[in-house]
Symmetry: C2
Subunit: 163 residues, 2 copies
DNA sequence: GACAATCATATTGTACACAATCTAATTGGT
DNA sequence: ACCAATTAGATTGTGTACAATATGATTGTC
């Protein structure tokens, strides 16, 4: 526990104060992000299970509640996912009776995703989810908002680099 | 573009200012987190590919560079992952020659994960990764640190609820 | 010392996630 | 009209991620 100058902890690489600290898990923003995402996903699970949704499906439904019908690629852009992820996800949601997938007559390459009545009505059942999760987070609203803004700013910077 | 009082945007459910706003993707901390994690993972990919590591494997290696040998469950606790995820991941890392997996003689239920020389030396090659990613983030160091702290605080609260 | 309970890991099944590739349809230039 | 380039989805293969279950070892109790 005492950080004495006696070198009782052998550092495999000669590294007084550089790389070893840089590569510590607890010092990584990326790991904090990774761990937080995993925990949030797990916090959603019991809330979404009664609705028959997984967490990515819930995000897709939110995107569709905002705007539907819309194409697969439009949805993919909103969620930051590609067709390899969305196609099977949407097929499962179609099998669950939440959405329909129909080819666009105007451009047969496009597939339009539309909500079914069941899918639309699920919004009412989902209305309590954000509040329930906010309770689980147990953070003041403004703290949540500032964290969200910081993450969105970071995302904007990363998005700018990839195009 | 003009937010006039004329109701030109029909809201499917009667919802003047409540659920529709709550369920908007852009208002969700969870989606900001989800999207940011995906983007960060993608930002790491080109940096880790030369090392032959995926992003979760890189996290596992960081945990092992800090402390090895350690058991699968110990590693799982550090990373927030269960054995169902770690076992195949560690087997791939074993196949890549980075770690060894050996049963503990004292308690045959345990599997000790140890770094190979190749795994240990990979640390030197990984030394530049955190800096390269910090450049990609293009954020002042103190902003990164405060974001990391905020995420760790949130994680602590979520972890407290599940035990 | 048998034996139930517990613990550590592995296995199985389902669900994301993405790179690479394929197919088919549209568009643009000639 | 033709053909190259582009675009939209689907498919395939690899790699996480977790719930549920199985297997085998250890511990506690009698």
């Amino acid at each position: 526990m005492s950080p004495k100058p006696t070198a009782d902890r052998r550092t495999p690489t000669s590294d007084p104060q550089g790389v070893a600290q840089q590569l510590r898990l607890d010092n990584q923003l990326c790991f904090a992000l990774y761990a937080a995402t995993g925990l949030v996903t797990r916090a959603y699970r019991p809330l979404l299970e009664p609705l028959g949704l997984t967490y990515p499906q819930y995000l897709a439904m939110m995107a569709l509640w905002e705007k539907a019908p819309r194409t697969v690629s439009d949805l993919g852009e909103a969620l930051g996912l590609d067709s390899g992820t969305l196609t099977p996800l949407l097929k499962r949601m179609e099998a669950a009776g939440l959405v329909t997938r129909t080819r666009d007559r105007a451009d047969e390459r496009r597939v339009q995703i539309e909500l079914t009545d069941k899918g639309r009505h699920l919004k009412d059942a989902a209305a309590g989810v954000p509040f329930a999760l906010a309770c689980a987070l147990d953070m003041p609203g403004e703290e949540i908002a500032s964290l969200r803004t910081a993450l969105q700013d970071m995302a904007r910077k990363l998005r700018g680099r990839e195009e």
